[in-house]
């Protein structure tokens, strides 16, 4: 546990993303198998121990510490694992016994019978130091909260192993802890583990926002256009009898969308937009889709009121055949052919938008006032399907008000009917490694969303400055605003006019939020 607890301590105190990556890479380089694999599983939340619930831990500590003193301490510290780690009375006679290794903890807990778990935990707490106790308790309660997402852990692995992150993502879903085959590959001792024949996640291809000055250099004849639908990007993977729906980051959301999964009776991997549609293809506003997000399961009433729909953009696999190296136009033809044959229910094709030159396309973009359309996508006709966000082949061209994907940084309680809720939000964008605040928004969300936001803020607070809470950089707010001007009042040097929360992007990783340069480029005059 020593390496792991040192890693956890380091991550807790390391604010910079690159610093975290360095710590992780160093840990993977210096920790043997299978300890490092179990640690990776913990970081990516792939380890679950059902019996080690907070209530059981409280009961355990009550056998060793005066409950009143514990309550006062917990109130002061505010985090259960940390309070227990600090308050646990050390037994000098145990100080010389060897603390357990990561592997010993994981394997013993996995083999433990119901009712044995807390006894094991008690024994380990006695042999570990306070950092070790903290790491153990975080590990067994299943939520580390050390500012590392699964994505960041994988990024660190890829950097350390000098492999492409997309390659790693490609095989990730075929792997199981403690990932011996993965580490062998990353250390150059074996080939990349197979992506698996199953319905594993294939990393998505993403786009860049189109700047006005980009257009001059682009030939309209090279590009196909299609609508950018206002939903959630998903990958439908149905292979060898397995069916999975993945979010853009590779989270498996199949359980929340049985109304789509039920109709995935084909053998293919598809790229599309998840939407809500009451009648065939009649797309409801994004807000309706919002009701279906962030849920592990779904009720029959939900299914009826907010039925899901997928509008298909692309095809990655048709049966066994990997189509990703074909140019877009050929993939598009294959998608149409496939759709004609398969005719899956609750899905349709996103139509191509024919156009003559950029001016005409601009007119189409402004002319379309449909609620479910965010703008246009431009895809190079010869673009192969690659992981990540290469510059050039795909562009997104949003319409209407200016929008920016920002990261929630601070929250403050509101007034009046919102007085108990954190409803005033300060958001920022990336400048290099750091976030700089660019504005504040007080509205643009429903009361139900406010409850969710408030809960998110309370759970992810990292610091408090009087009434203001600083939160983990983990939630993307898509902010709409009328214009942006230079300003001395903000650290960023920019002020937005009339900013409001346009959408809460629960699905989008914070690192993918916009950069300050993007906002600077929107300054008028």
């Amino acid at each position: 546990m020593r390496n792991f607890s040192a890693l956890i301590d380091g991550l807790v105190f390391m604010p910079a993303r690159n610093g975290k990556i360095r710590l992780l890479a160093d840990f993977f380089a210096t920790t043997p198998d299978p300890d490092r694999g179990w640690a990776l599983a913990a970081l990516t939340e792939s380890l679950v121990f059902h019996e080690a619930k907070p209530a059981a831990i409280r009961q355990l500590v009550a056998t060793r510490v005066d409950p009143e003193l514990f309550a006062l301490s917990y109130d002061y510290v505010g985090d259960l694992a940390e309070t227990v780690a600090l308050i646990w009375p050390e037994r000098p006679e145990r100080a010389n016994s060897l603390p357990p290794s990561m592997t010993e903890v994981v394997e013993t807990l996995r083999a433990a019978k119901r009712g044995q778990v807390m006894g094991l935990v008690e024994g380990w707490l006695d042999t570990l130091d306070s950092s070790g106790r903290f790491a153990l308790l975080k590990l067994i309660t299943g939520s580390l909260r050390v500012g590392v997402s699964a994505r960041l852990a994988k990024t660190a692995l890829a950097e350390w192993g000098k492999v492409d992150l997309g390659d790693l993502e490609e095989c990730w879903h075929g792997l199981t802890p403690p990932y011996a085959d993965l580490f062998a590959w990353l250390e150059g001792k074996s080939d990349r583990p197979a992506a698996g024949k199953g319905a594993g996640f294939r990393p998505l291809m993403l786009s860049h926002p189109l700047e006005e000055e980009d257009m001059a250099g682009l030939d309209p004849a090279d590009y196909a256009a299609e609508w950018k639908w206002d939903g959630i990007r998903v990958q439908l993977a149905a292979r060898g009898g397995e069916r999975r729906i993945y979010s853009r980051t590779g989270d498996d959301v199949s359980g929340a969308f049985p109304d789509i999964a039920d109709h995935m009776t084909f053998d293919a991997v598809l790229d599309g937009e998840l939407l809500v549609a009451r009648d065939e293809g009649d797309i409801a506003p994004f807000n309706d889709l919002q009701q279906r997000l962030n849920r592990k399961t779904v009720t029959a009433a939900m299914l009826k009121e907010f039925p899901a729909w997928v509008r298909l953009y692309d095809i990655l696999f048709d049966g066994e055949e990997d189509l990703r190296s074909l140019p877009f136009t050929e993939r598009r033809a294959r998608l149409e052919r496939w759709h004609d044959a398969a005719r899956p229910r609750r899905m349709d094709l996103s139509p191509l938008v024919p156009f003559e030159g950029w001016e005409a396309l601009k007119g189409l973009r402004e002319g379309s006032r449909e609620n479910s359309i965010e703008g246009l996508m431009l895809k190079r006709k010869d673009s192969v399907y690659v992981a990540g966000r290469p510059k050039g082949p795909w562009f997104k061209w949003k319409r209407g008000a200016l929008t920016l994907d920002t990261v929630l940084m601070y929250a403050q309680r509101g007034h009046g009917k919102r007085s108990s809720y954190y409803s005033d939000f300060t958001f920022g964008v990336w400048r290099g490694e750091e976030l700089v605040p660019v504005g504040k928004a007080y509205f643009g969300f429903t009361d139900a969303e406010l409850v969710e936001l408030d809960r998110w803020v309370r759970n992810r607070t990292t610091r408090r400055y009087g009434p203001v809470r600083e939160v983990e950089p983990g939630l993307v707010l898509e902010v709409a605003f009328d214009s942006v001007h230079p300003s001395n009042r903000h650290k960023s040097g920019l002020a937005m006019r009339f900013p409001r929360v346009h959408r809460i992007r629960w699905d989008k990783p914070a690192v993918e939020a916009d950069r300050l340069e993007t906002l600077q480029a929107m300054v008028v005059g």
Binding site: D9, V12, F13, M14, P15, V65, D66, E68, L69, F70, L72, S73, Y76, V77, G78, D79, E82, T83, L86, I87, S130, F134, T462, R463, R464
Partner: protein, 345 residues
């Protein structure tokens, strides 16, 4: 260890002659206050930290060390008339016998031992129990009433061994030899203790100081506390500070001042660093749990050693210590004293 005063059947309970007033803790039969918050006629001052040693009193009684610190920090405000008292020496003020006994907190820090009508009351001031080469060690004095601080009065506060924390700092210096290490440390006491611990651990390179830390370091050296080679960080070339150890007040490490340093590792030496969230709140990358206050175990141990049947808890997290003492059969209560800060703990 000293003997208990003779038991007298008619002695008045301490709360009859020790009072909490807006000015601070008042010793009525002596006509003086201990660590008063506002200017008073007569003050006994436990130590030189600014929340205990305030300016503007007419008469001040303290150790020579404390008086020197007060003169340096407060100038004229150190007191119209000052009188120094050696550790252990007794003096009669009004109807009270007063002695100062080492508290082990900072240079010159003292507990105030008060005897009146057969009752002995000890005011701990701020204290610690760890060995510290920069000041005299705490001496427990058995008493009838022990008035204790409780800055770290929660069982989550257990300070690890000092040298282990210093090792963390030295390890980081060897791991990142190109980065300046800036350690936030309170100007009086913590700064000199950290330097002294570094020297004890064999670190003999020059240590760089923020300007605010220099005067007290000189004062300590004048009192015979060796600190090795110290250089001002203010005028030092940027190149020279690469890989160097720099001490600065806690407020300066996260401030513009620290920008003169190259990619600094921000450390903080404080008992609060024990709690991760506290360390994160201060933007600290390398927390060092080094405190000049007693931790929970030491607070509890001290209650045992002074064996007072009655304990008053002044500033800090009173509730838990009162609870603990009560469980042990001690009459305990929290004194509503305000005005003491947590800075630099």
């Amino acid at each position: 260890m000293q003997d208990m005063p003779a038991q007298s059947p008619s002695r008045p309970p301490a709360e009859r002659w020790m009072k909490v007033c807006p000015e601070g803790l008042y010793v009525e039969p002596g006509g003086f206050y201990v660590d008063p918050l506002r200017p008073v006629e007569r003050a006994v001052v436990t130590h030189g930290h600014s929340d205990h040693a305030r300016p503007g009193h007419a008469h001040v009684l303290a150790t020579a060390g404390t008086l020197a610190i007060m003169r340096q920090r407060l100038g004229e405000g150190a007191g119209a008339a000052t009188q120094s008292l050696d550790y252990g020496e007794a003096i009669r003020i009004g109807d009270v016998t007063v002695r100062l006994v080492p508290a082990g907190h900072v240079l010159g820090s003292a507990q105030v031992v008060l005897e009146h009508a057969g009752t002995r009351v000890v005011v701990s001031g701020d204290y610690k129990r760890r060995f510290d080469r920069t000041c005299a060690s705490f001496e427990p004095v058995p008493c009838d009433v022990f008035i204790t601080e409780a800055t770290f009065g929660l069982p989550v506060f257990r300070h690890p061994p000092d040298l282990g924390e210093i090792d963390k700092l030295l390890h980081s210096l060897s791991l990142f030899p190109e980065r300046s290490h800036v350690v936030g440390a309170y100007a009086l006491g913590k700064c000199q203790r950290v330097i002294s611990l570094l020297r004890a651990a064999g670190y003999d390179r020059p240590i760089y100081l923020h300007g605010a830390l220099e005067p007290i370091c000189k004062l300590y050296e004048g009192f015979g506390v060796p600190l090795g080679e110290l250089r001002p960080a203010t005028v030092a070339a940027k190149e020279e500070l690469k890989g160097a150890l720099v001490l600065a007040p806690p407020g300066a490490v996260a401030d513009r001042w620290a920008r003169r340093l190259t990619d600094p590792v921000v450390a903080m030496a404080s008992g609060w660093m024990r709690v991760r969230q506290r360390a994160r709140q201060r933007g600290v990358e390398l927390p060092l749990v080094i405190s000049d206050h007693a931790d929970w175990d030491e607070l509890v141990q001290t209650l045992d050693e002074v064996a007072a049947p009655e304990v008053w808890v002044t500033h800090g997290r009173e509730e838990a210590l009162v609870h603990h003492a009560t469980q042990r059969g001690i009459r305990a209560r929290a004194l509503a004293l305000v005005g003491f800060e947590e800075e630099g703990a």
